[in-house]
C-alpha cells in the first residue's frame, strides 16, 4: 500500500468513527459536562458584563450597553492591575527558574546530608498560601518584630516597612518563596535525567563547569523550564490570598493584580457588572500570555 492510500484509508476510518451516531451518543455526556463546566460560566460572565447590576442597588438593573466597559477602562486602577499582574508573573518566573536552577545544580552534587537538604528545600511547597503569607508578614517582614528588621538593625540600618514601601516587591518575594520548591523539584529531576555518559563526553571534550552548564545542562533543561513556566503561569496569574492577607492590594493600587481588582469590584463596591468585565479581561490576558508561551516553547519541546 502506498502512503497516499494509507492516508486515505486512515481518513476514511476516522470519518467512519466520528460519524457513527452511536459513538457520538457515547461522547455526549462528556461534551455536555464540559460545556456546563467551562462555557456556561463564560456566558454568564459575558451576560453580566452588559448589565447594570450593583448589589447596593438591587432594584436598579437592566441593560447598560458598553457602560461597564467604559467605566472599567476609565478606572485608573485597571492599568495598574494589568501591569502588576504581568510584573508579578514575570518576576516570580525569573526568580524561581533562575534561583531554582542554581539550587538544583547544588542539590545534584554529592555532599553530606544531601537527602535532608532536599527535604528541607521542598518544605515551603507544603505550606498553605495564606499561612506562608502571614508568616512572611509577621515574622520576616514586620517593621518592628520581623527577622529582616532585626538583621538590618544589627548591621546598623534603619528597618523598612516592607508592605508600605515596596508592597509588590514584598509579594513577589513571598510568591517566589512559595514556588521555588516546585521549580527546584522539576529542574532537579531534569538534571538527574541527563545521561551521565553525555556529561563525561563533554568533560573529555574539555568542558569546564561553566561550559558544561551552558552547552550541555541548560539545553537539556528546556522541557523542564517550559513545563515549570506553564504551570507557574496558570497559578500565579490568579494570586489572591497572599495579597489579601498582607497588603490588601494597597497602598492605592500598588499591589493590586487583576484577580484582586475583581474582588475589589465585587466585595468592596458590590459591582457585579464591573467585576464581570474585569474577569473577561483576565481571561483575555491569560490567553494572550498562554499563546506566546506555548509558541515560544513549542519550538523548544521539539528538540
Amino acid at each position: 500500500m502506498t502512503t497516499a492510500q494509507a492516508n486515505t484509508a486512515e481518513a476514511l476510518g476516522l470519518q467512519q468513527r466520528s460519524s457513527s451516531p452511536r459513538a457520538r451518543l457515547l461522547t455526549l455526556p462528556a461534551v455536555v459536562l464540559l460545556l456546563l463546566w467551562s462555557v456556561l460560566p463564560l456566558i454568564v460572565t459575558l451576560w453580566f458584563s452588559f448589565r447594570r447590576y450593583n448589589l447596593m442597588n438591587p432594584g436598579h438593573t437592566g441593560f447598560d450597553g458598553l457602560g461597564n466597559y467604559r467605566y472599567l477602562f476609565s478606572d485608573p486602577g485597571l492599568g495598574m492591575a494589568v501591569w502588576n499582574t504581568v510584573l508579578l508573573l514575570g518576576s516570580v518566573l525569573v526568580i524561581t527558574i533562575g534561583v531554582g536552577t542554581l539550587i538544583a545544580l547544588l542539590l545534584d552534587q554529592e555532599f553530606y546530608g544531601r537527602g535532608f537538604a532536599r527535604v528541607l528545600m521542598l518544605a515551603p511547597f507544603f505550606v498553605m498560601p495564606t499561612v506562608s503569607a502571614l508568616l512572611w508578614k509577621n515574622m520576616m517582614m514586620h517593621p518592628d518584630n520581623g527577622f529582616l528588621a532585626f538583621l538590618m538593625r544589627s548591621v546598623g540600618l534603619k528597618p523598612i516597612d516592607w508592605f508600605a514601601v515596596a508592597p509588590l516587591t514584598s509579594i513577589i518575594i513571598i510568591v517566589s518563596w512559595e514556588w521555588l520548591p516546585f521549580a527546584v523539584l522539576t529542574l532537579l529531576t531534569a538534571i538527574q535525567s541527563l545521561d551521565a555518559e553525555r556529561k563525561e563526553a563533554a568533560r573529555m571534550d574539555g568542558a569546564g563547569p561553566i561550559a558544561m552548564f551552558r552547552y550541555i545542562i541548560w539545553p537539556h533543561l528546556g522541557r523542564a523550564v517550559a513545563a515549570t513556566t506553564m504551570i507557574e503561569t496558570i497559578f500565579i496569574l490568579g494570586i489572591f490570598a497572599e495579597i489579601y492577607v498582607t497588603s490588601s492590594g494597597g497602598p492605592g493600587f500598588a499591589s493590586t493584580n487583576l484577580s484582586f481588582l475583581i474582588y475589589r469590584y465585587v466585595l468592596m463596591e458590590y459591582d457585579i457588572g464591573g467585576a464581570a468585565v474585569a474577569g473577561l479581561l483576565a481571561i483575555v490576558l491569560a490567553n494572550v500570555l498562554a499563546f506566546f508561551l506555548l509558541r515560544s516553547f513549542a519550538r523548544n519541546l521539539d528538540t
Partner: protein, 358 residues
C-alpha cells in the same frame, strides 16, 4: 602516537577491589583490545586511563609521563562511548567541533577539521542533521568523528559496536580496522566479544575479575592459551575439556587415561608431568575428527548444520559433552554411536590449578 604504561594499577570502590594490580604496556600505533566477561573491569580500566575514574593506586604513564592526576581533557585522548553520548541539540558538525570550539580554535580551522573527518567517515551529507535524525551506524560514525577531529594521541573505545545489529557490526568492525591503519593511531578497544577481539586486535589483553590473564597476539592466544580461562574464552565454538590422569611418561610422549579408561597419547617434554597427576586435556572443536578408528567413544546428541560447516555435539563415554566441528555436510544423527580422533599435534594440557603445561 603514544605508548601507555600501567604499573600495578588498582581501583577500589567502597573497599571492594575491582582492578587488582594491572601491569601492562600498550604499544605505539597498535590496536590493543581488552576482552573479558561482563563485570571483569574492562570499562573501569579504560575509564581510569581516560581520566574519568580516579586511580586508587599505581602509576599510569602516557608516553613515559605520569598522568595519574592530569584531568581527562588534558590527557590528549578521545573516548568513544557505547551509547555514543552525542549532544542531541547540536548538529553533526557541531557535535564534532565542540571540543575545538571549547579549545578556542578558529571557525575556519574548525570547519576544515570537521570536513576532513567527515570525508574519512563518509559523513559529508549528514553534517547539518541532528543526532536523532541518524541511524545507529551513522551515530556511531559521528561519535568516532568527534574523536578524530581532536587528533588525540590515543583513541579509547568502550564496546562501540554493541548497539548495532549483526551485519552492521561486521561492517563497522572492518571500517574501524581500516581507520586504524589509515590514521596510524594507537587505540585501546574494549569488548566482551572474543570474535571482535580476534578479528581487530594487534594485541589482546584478556581480563578476568580485575586481573590480566594473558597478553598476546590473537594467534598466540589461540595457539598457546596460558590457562584454562583463556583457553575457554578465546575461540568459537569453545575449546573442549576432558579430565585425565597421566599413566606413563616416556621422552617427549605422555599417555593420558580418561575417566572411562580410554588412553590418549600426547607429545610433551617428559619433565613437565609425572605419573599419577590429574590434568585437564583441551581440544578445540576443529581439531577433532569423526573417525571409525578414533580412540574416544561417544554418542551424538545434536547436530547443527550451517552449510559451510556443521557442529556435532556429542557425549563422550567419559561423560563430558564435546563439540566437533566438521567442514561441510555431515551424515550422523542424534543417538548414533561415533568415534572421535583428536589431532595429537593440537592438544592443550593444563595442570590441576589450570595453568598450561608445556
Amino acid at each position: 602516537m603514544a605508548t601507555v604504561d600501567l604499573q600495578q594499577l588498582r581501583k577500589t570502590y567502597n573497599s571492594v577491589e575491582i582492578i587488582k594490580g594491572i601491569d601492562l604496556t600498550v604499544r605505539d600505533q597498535e590496536l590493543t583490545v581488552f576482552v573479558g566477561p561482563s563485570g571483569c573491569g574492562k570499562s573501569t580500566l579504560l575509564r581510569m586511563i581516560a581520566g574519568l575514574e580516579e586511580i586508587t593506586s599505581g602509576e599510569l604513564l602516557i608516553d613515559g609521563q605520569r598522568v595519574n592526576e592530569v584531568p581527562a581533557a588534558k590527557r590528549g585522548l578521545a573516548l568513544v562511548f557505547q551509547s555514543y553520548a552525542l549532544y542531541p541539540h547540536m548538529t553533526v558538525a557541531e557535535n564534532m567541533s565542540f571540543s575545538l570550539k571549547l579549545a578556542g580554535v578558529s571557525k575556519a580551522e574548525r570547519e576544515a577539521k570537521v570536513m576532513e573527518a567527515a570525508r574519512i567517515l563518509h559523513l559529508e551529507p549528514l553534517l547539518d542533521r541532528k543526532p536523532k535524525e541518524l541511524s545507529g551506524g551513522q551515530r556511531q560514525r559521528v561519535a568516532i568523528g568527534r574523536a578524530i577531529v581532536r587528533h588525540p594521541r590515543l583513541f579509547l573505545f568502550d564496546e562501540p559496536l554493541s548497539n548495532l545489529d549483526a551485519a552492521l557490526r561486521v561492517r563497522m568492525r572492518q571500517e574501524l580496522t581500516k581507520l586504524h591503519r589509515e590514521l596510524k593511531a594507537t587505540m585501546i578497544y574494549v569488548t566482551h566479544d572474543q570474535v571482535e577481539a580476534m578479528t581487530m586486535a594487534d594485541r589482546i589483553v584478556v581480563l578476568q575479575a580485575g586481573v590480566v590473564e594473558q597478553v598476546g597476539t590473537p594467534m598466540e592466544l589461540y595457539q598457546h592459551p596460558k590457562n584454562l580461562f583463556v583457553a575457554g574464552f578465546i575461540g568459537s565454538p569453545r575449546m573442549n575439556f576432558l579430565t585425565a590422569i597421566v599413566v606413563s611418561v616416556s621422552d617427549a610422549r605422555v599417555a593420558l587415561e580418561l575417566t572411562d579408561g580410554t588412553v590418549i597419547h600426547a607429545s610433551l617434554p617428559a619433565s613437565a608431568v609425572s605419573v599419577g597427576h590429574t590434568i585437564t586435556l583441551g581440544i578445540r572443536p576443529e581439531h577433532i575428527r569423526l573417525s571409525a578408528t578414533g580412540s574416544i567413544g561417544a554418542q551424538v546428541q545434536l547436530v547443527e548444520r550451517l552449510g559451510s560447516e556443521s557442529y556435532v555435539y556429542v557425549q563422550a563415554n567419559s561423560g563430558e559433552v564435546l563439540t566437533v566441528r566438521v567442514s561441510g555436510e555431515v551424515n550422523v544423527a542424534p543417538e548414533e554411536k561415533v568415534r572421535l580422533a583428536p589431532d595429537s599435534d593440537f592438544l592443550h594440557l593444563f595442570d590441576a590449578i589450570g595453568q598450561r603445561i608445556s
